[in-house]
Symmetry: C2
Subunit: 387 residues, 2 copies
């Protein structure tokens, strides 16, 4: 965790630096304990003038006004974020955060916890779903261990950000301490900083891996929606009816025990978890702090995004929803956030797969805005062609 | 029209030839008048065994079964079409068919008919919406004049397939003769053959340009759904309430006058039009005849696809729906065809824009099938890594 920050300090010596998106920020000799608050303070609003100029250009293009639907707003939002009408998202990165979950002891998941580290290795080897979909989208995949119950080799090319080896079983105990919750969020922020140190990043996707992690995500949306658990609980990777009942009971038990206060997102995270969900929140806050658009994946990544927006409502200006998951609670999360998903393909996988696929549409939105000619531009071209 | 066919004959001398997808077909000394029926007869069913093998591979991949939703079925269907689990859609082509519409005399459209040829020039110049979205998808755009009311320069790089200069006003007369309807469909088939002559094509997208063409499309879905016109009529490029009322009246008048028989698709086309809709039907039949997947765009392209499937129900195995248009009748068409659109982004543009964007998802589906490792492949790799 210290590694990336210290490198960052060495590079920039606590001075005001330019970062890839044209924003600048003072980054440097800060106390680690205050990283979260500093990055929240650092978030600037996207540029409204450029956003308006983008909407105007879209209206003037040689096609019926509004005819490219939801991608028009995506393009205009990106223009506001990057302060230009000609956005190029060359460097795309999906960060897949992994963690284990004590709640698995309640029999809530189809797969055993051992699958979490196995999948981390599968990501590193490049043959998993997220590798395939990220490759298709022209995105890199970076994997982060936030809380896997496994000792990875130190030279394994992942972000080694383990806060602890899995959460506590939140049905009977807090998932983690408040300090661990903060650490998991700051791990996400530090990952963004480490990525930016390595070179330009133009868009970030968030993804998850963690057997059992639909249970804490269900608990989180329950806290914020106030809806009954059975209405919010899905089958995750595919538990049967009996497993679904156990899951509902476990989440209800945990919420009854801990009574998380929605106004205290750090408390919610520490009480119901999970560690990778904290990092997923941190990725959103980190991206927003550095003026980067961030695309959240499905149910678990959006749980993280929700906590991020509770901690830093202004982060939402940088947040894009990739898809609508089969997992029933996801729709309630998107509604709560007021985000429109770009895809609805019955995905229920996680890993960042929806985020990767949506990046292709988001990229298309940048080309729509910049490259489709306006009526005026067409007229000029026609005059030049002698038509 | 004769050009491509005669070249084709010269190349293959009426012999049995291999075509890019591994199918073979006898193409050659055929009488032009029978092209449509010959190509319908030529359509073969995709390979069921390869489809089943694909479904099996998808089930065995190291992820929850079914977790990549609708793209799994797309991948499996493509496997059946190409008879391999490793499909590569390198050569993508969107064909945008243009035509004018006599029904514009009824005041049904926001834009004047002059916009149709202007947009054809815009397509050729590369600055239109379809150019931008096709470029993003890695697809070529080819434009075809099937019935534009304009004399294009003979050296303009488009398919010159004009059947007549716009349709008749179907509110008061037939849109075209039965022979012209056949010619417009055969123009679409000939375009597929001309493309295949030029080199490999792995997937075809269909798109339209034609001021006024939501009116004939509305008439077509009315014929096949039997639903009342007001329920099927949308605002096209954006007519106001008064224009919408005129459009409903015009379509109702046309259908009352001609009483098209749904069992006679050629009759439906000749009575309500349009010329580019015929070609869009021909593209689907041509693609199916040569074993090519074909992605239909929105309301107008799907009207063509409906007529194609009425003429040749077996063509549907090659047909993919790209998106769900804002135009209200489109949902009824997709329902009638039993096709699931991949995107729902509130597009209402045409040109092939939805088809181009969906090609990226369809391409992703091929990678999902081929490249995501199965549990067995992961185990082999782990053993090799000494884990």
């Amino acid at each position: 965790m210290e590694r990336s920050i210290s490198l960052f300090e060495k590079d920039i010596k606590g001075e005001k630096v330019s970062i890839p998106n044209g924003y600048s920020a003072v980054i440097g000799k800060e106390k680690r304990m205050h990283l979260l608050e500093k990055r929240i303070d650092q978030i600037q609003a996207p540029d409204k003038k450029t956003y308006e100029a983008a909407r105007e250009r879209l209206r003037n293009q040689a096609r019926p006004a509004g005819s490219l639907g939801a991608l028009e707003e995506v393009g205009a939002r990106l223009a506001g974020i990057f302060r230009t009408l000609d956005v190029h998202l060359h460097e795309k990165v999906v960060v897949t955060c992994a963690g284990d979950h004590g709640i698995c002891a309640e029999g809530v998941s189809l797969f055993p916890s051992e699958v979490t580290p196995q999948m981390v290795y599968n990501f590193v080897d490049g043959g998993a779903s997220i590798n395939v979909l990220a490759r298709h989208a022209g995105a890199r995949v970076r994997v982060a261990d936030i809380g896997v119950n496994w000792d990875f080799e130190p030279d394994l090319p992942i972000f080694h950000k383990k806060v602890r080896k899995g959460t506590g079983n939140f049905a009977v105990e807090p998932a983690m301490t408040r300090e661990e919750a903060r650490q998991s969020i700051e791990a996400g922020i530090e990952i963004v900083e480490a990525l930016l140190e390595d070179g330009p990043v133009h868009i970030l996707g968030t993804g998850d891996m963690g057997i059992g992690n639909t249970s804490p995500s269900t608990a989180i949306i329950a806290v914020y929606s106030g809806l009954p658990i059975p209405q919010l609980t899905g089958r995750g990777a595919g538990v049967d009816d009996e497993g679904l009942r156990r899951k509902i009971v476990a989440v209800e038990k945990g919420l009854k025990r801990h009574r998380p206060d929605p106004k205290d997102p750090l408390g919610v995270l520490s009480k119901v978890g999970g560690l990778e969900i904290g990092a997923l929140a941190g990725l959103v806050i980190g991206a927003a702090a550095y003026g980067l658009p961030v695309v959240c994946d499905g149910f678990i990544a959006t749980a993280g995004a929700m906590l991020a927006c509770e901690l830093a409502p202004q982060a939402k200006s940088y947040l894009f929803a990739s898809h609508n998951s089969v997992e029933v609670g996801h729709g309630f999360m998107l509604k709560y956030l007021g985000l429109r998903p770009l895809l609805d393909l019955e995905f229920r996988l996680g890993e960042g797969t929806g985020a990767a696929l949506a990046m292709e549409l988001i990229d298309a939105a940048t080309r729509i805005l910049a490259d489709i000619k306006t009526f005026e531009e067409v007229a000029i071209q026609d005059a030049q062609s002698g038509r």
